[in-house]
């Protein structure tokens, strides 16, 4: 078998391939040669073959059959073999293969080798891809090497220790004694990696953090030497002495000083010194300044220092170098929460960055601009942001649009401005807004009652121009459906009212239904809007025709809607006006999460609300009919389902009501009925949040020797009240007071009149049906006041 070709030959050959297929062919041929060479167990050329294999791996071809060969190379005595072997191990092996565990012994031997380079190779490999088992086994060796005087090995051991700690955090304590005199090293390489090790330990464990705080003076000293020492040729990079080490130390100082006053104080001077003395003409200087600024922001520094830091960032923003501007924007984003006013000073520069050509800078500037928006600058900022929305790339539009909505919601100076802004967003970036913005928008529009005419007019005009942007179309069709009468009657005060006929409006809506640009959801909106107009417009026949056409639509959703609306025209025409009347103002719920919070003068008291959440309504309707029959003709009112209002209009009065709720036992219970062994007691509560509702719980008990079965309790109240009866706990009242039947009655008493009630009881007792009527007048005053 001829000697395998050299790596260089292979590379040259592969480069002559003109197509991908040719290259693949060459590689496959070579792979076959390598495989047969491996089978022959040829020691001399193994490393050559593995090197070729690694090259092919880099190009993307499978190379897993070389894994065992790497291990053999590692076990060899020759340095060349070991070098390639370890490289192969790092590239091809990982903890998911079982093969890697075989390396452990080799690495252990090599860690104790006489040649430092072999030890270095072993440390390097362990530090790159050591698994947790390997790390556990070899941590002791690494720790030993951490204490050696050889600086080459020491720095490698330090980084290897970092990897071990990452894989097996429990071993951190093991390395603690070795760190004692790491910082007294002269060699910058060791210093650098030691600082990395200390940083890793401090980040992982608060105990270590506390322990290493005492190193702050030493670190400050080292940093000082670096700055003050003149030109030192071995560490110089563009005129600054070892900037990498400076940056690392600054980062460690940041971690140590965070939240700790003493350490922060010890650092103040040196930070000020670095900030003022560093040259900023080259990138290295700026790197150090950047790190300094981040440190100043994070620790408890004095205010003068913070102002200095923000000014440095402001200077960065004006720098021509894009990279500097990018890091400045990133850091300002981090500090805007804490030092809002200081960052506001640079607002104009930040807004200018929106116009930059660089995508990364634009994104940062956009995020920062949104963070800086407040009540004072909302108009100006919004103008800039809307302009940005017009001209930016599609990838930004969605985020920008949501940001604009949020900011507008929080700081809108007037309702008209708010609606204008939203219209602007919808017309420029309509297809990029998020799905939940459509319902939010609709809610906003319903809430601004005086703007309805203006809104619907503007939306109509927008619709005439362009029907491709679905969120815009959906909102517009909903509004036209709701407020079409305002549109046609030309009532707009804010701007010139337009003359629109009913037919034109219906034309537009029908156009939406047939257009290819409309999604099914939009079509649904349009159909519903047309239906609603049947109560607001006079040309009902046209609407009937449209609706009946869609009764046979292929789209199931549309078909269902059309069929139901058809039914509305035919069988339930008497209900149509009530069903299609104007929507009430929707209460605003918290946009994230179902919990509703009562705001009283800015304070939220969620816990009280939670406890008093009204139970769901489960009133059977036949009881209503019975009562009508029973008590018909009197000044009583049948049972009506009252939907419990979820929020009171805000006022300071709630506070009192909430407090009032807490005294449940304020209203004494009473006996409403007591005859023939059946006793009915009433206990009272106040419903929250509406103070006008009294919640009465009846307790029916039976003192006779026989059960009362089929027990039904009914009640009626005068017209000024409203009554709601919930289901009883059971309809058998057990004998001899063994248990009670409970049922909840809710009485709405808006006019605070004296509560009166007529009750009817039916039950079967000892085989015979019993009926009784009674009036209850002895309600305690507190129950209805």
């Amino acid at each position: 078998m001829p000697a395998p070709i050299r790596l260089r030959e292979l590379i040259r050959t592969i480069r002559t391939a003109r197509t991908q297929a040719e290259e693949r062919e060459m590689i496959q041929k070579e792979c076959a040669a390598i495989r047969s060479s491996f089978r022959e167990e040829d020691n001399t050329y193994r490393c050559r073959n593995v090197a070729k294999l690694l090259y092919m791996h880099m190009l993307g071809y499978p190379a897993h059959f070389g894994q065992l060969e790497c291990l053999k190379l590692i076990a060899s005595q020759k340095f060349t073999d070991k070098r390639i072997g370890y490289l192969g191990a790092m590239l091809l092996l990982d903890e998911r293969q079982d093969v890697h565990l075989l390396m452990t012994n080799c690495i252990k031997n090599d860690l104790n080798h006489s040649t430092q380079y072999v030890q270095g190779l072993a440390l390097c490999t362990l530090g790159c891809m050591g698994s947790s088992e390997m790390c556990r086994d070899l941590a002791g060796e690494v720790e030993k090497l951490l204490k050696t005087s050889n600086s080459y090995l020491r720095k490698k051991a330090a980084l290897c220790a970092v990897h071990v700690i990452r894989k097996v955090p429990e071993l951190m304590e093991m390395f603690l004694p070795a760190t004692k005199n790491l910082l007294s090293e002269k060699n910058h390489g060791v210093l650098h990696t030691s600082v990395v090790l200390l940083t890793e330990m401090c980040e992982r464990s608060p105990d270590m953090l506390a322990h290493f705080r005492k190193l702050v003076p030493q670190l400050v000293r080292i940093l000082k030497n670096l700055i003050m020492s003149g030109y030192s040729p071995e560490h110089d990079v563009s005129g600054i002495s070892d900037p990498f080490l400076q940056v690392r130390i600054l980062r460690l100082l940041r971690i140590l000083g965070k939240g700790d006053d003493d350490s922060s104080e010890a650092m103040n001077d040196i930070l000020a010194q670095v900030a003022t003395n560093t040259e900023t003409s080259k990138n290295v200087g700026n790197a150090i300044l950047y790190e300094t600024v981040l440190t100043i922001m994070d620790i408890k520094s004095e205010s003068g220092l913070r102002v200095l830091a923000i000014n440095i960032l402001g200077r960065f923003l004006l720098n021509n170098d894009k990279n500097i501007r990018y890091v400045a924007l990133t850091s300002l984003l981090k500090t805007v929460q804490t030092d809002h006013n200081a960052v506001q000073r640079h607002r104009s520069t930040i807004v200018d960055c929106l116009k930059d050509l660089d995508v990364s800078i634009k994104r940062r500037a956009m995020e920062l601009s949104f963070a800086l928006v407040n009540g004072n600058n909302i108009r100006g900022m919004m103008k800039e942001l809307l302009y940005f929305l017009d001209s930016c790339d599609p990838e930004f539009k969605a985020d920008c649009a949501s940001g604009v909505f949020l900011a507008a919601e929080k700081y809108a100076p007037s309702k008209r401005w708010h609606i204008d802004t939203i219209m602007r967003v919808l017309t420029t970036a309509g297809s990029y807004v998020r799905d939940d913005s459509v319902p939010n928008l609709i809610q906003l529009i319903t809430n601004s009652v005086e703007m309805h005419a203006y809104t619907v007019q503007r939306l109509y005009k927008a619709l005439l121009d362009d029907i491709s942007q679905q969120p815009l179309v959906q909102v517009a069709s909903w509004c036209i459906g709701e407020y079409g009468d305002l549109l046609v009657s030309g009532q707009c005060e804010e701007e010139e009212p337009i003359q629109v006929t009913e037919d034109e409006v219906l034309d537009v809506l029908e156009g939406l239904l047939v257009s290819n640009l409309s999604t099914p959801v939009t079509r649904g909106y349009a159909l519903t809007a047309i239906m609603k107009l049947s109560t607001r417009f006079t040309s009902v026949n046209r609407i009937k025709k449209v609706v009946s056409i869609y009764g046979s639509s292929i789209d199931v959703e549309l078909q269902q809607r059309a069929v139901e609306y058809n039914a509305l025209f035919k069988k339930y025409d008497h209900m149509r006006p009530a069903l299609l009347e104007r929507m009430p103002i929707m209460e605003k719920t918290a946009s994230n999460g179902p919990t509703e919070i009562v705001q009283t003068n800015g304070e939220a008291e969620p816990s009280v609300v939670e406890a008093k959440h009204p139970p769901p309504v489960t009133q059977p309707t036949n009881q209503a009919n019975d009562l009508l029959d029973l008590l018909g003709g009197n000044d009583v009112v049948p049972v009506i389902q009252t939907t419990v209002p979820t929020k009171p209009a805000s006022a300071g009065g709630e506070l009192l009501d909430l407090l009032g709720d807490l005294s449940l036992s304020g209203i004494p219970p009473m006996t409403a009925y007591n005859k023939n062994g059946l006793k009915i007691d009433f206990t009272f509560e106040r419903a929250n949040p509406n103070p006008n509702i009294a919640v009465i719980t009846i307790h029916a008990s039976n003192s006779t020797e026989a059960d009362m079965t089929d027990f039904v309790f009914q009640a009626a109240v005068p017209k000024t009240f409203q009554l709601q009866l919930l289901s009883p706990s059971s309809n058998v009242v057990p004998t001899l007071n063994q248990g009670t039947v409970t049922q909840v009655i809710r009485v709405l008493n808006p006019q605070k009149q004296q509560l009166r009630m007529r009750i009817k009881l039916t039950y079967t007792h000892k085989g015979s049906a019993v009926q009784d009527l009674a009036e209850v007048n002895n309600f305690p005053p507190q129950s209805w006041q």
Binding site: L7, R15, A51, L59, T80, Y152, L159, F244, V327
Partner: protein, 187 residues
Amino acid sequence: MIKAILIFNNHGKPRLSKFYEHYNEDTEQQIIRETFHLVSKRDENVCNFLEGGMLIGGSDYKLIYRHYATLYFVFCVDSSESELGILDLIQVFVETLDKCFENVCELDLIFHVDKVHNILAEMVMGGMVLETNMNEIITQVDAQNKMEKSEFFPFFSFSLSLYRRLSFSLPGRTGRHRQKNVSYCHV
């Protein structure tokens, strides 16, 4: 922590790929392709930082790159590294390569991939920066290379010098003929 170091040319051909976190082979190639795609779109006068693509880790990772002649040097890092510091590191790396290979060009990287790996191993270990002093790195690399040479020619060290006097010129694709003091490599 540095997640990956990639070098590829203007057409996307990888010249060096080192991952400090494990991905399987297909994912690695995909990452290289995706990174090339993102980086090649960039204009010359924009900043050198890119948000990382979807594959390599999403929002926490940044791509920091520099473009030298025909090669892109890309470091994929997470938020614990200083962006400007990494830019300097790339510069130091390239300067070191320049010193080791004497006016390094793409061909050097093509034909001496293993050497580049060795140099890189002296600078970055396990995703963390090991040594940034150029001279120190070069000293270590030279010493190790000497060890390799002495192993292969244990008794014929004089023929080493002979070999070097007879060293051929590399024609290469560009037709460049140059006498190069190529560090010996017997693989």
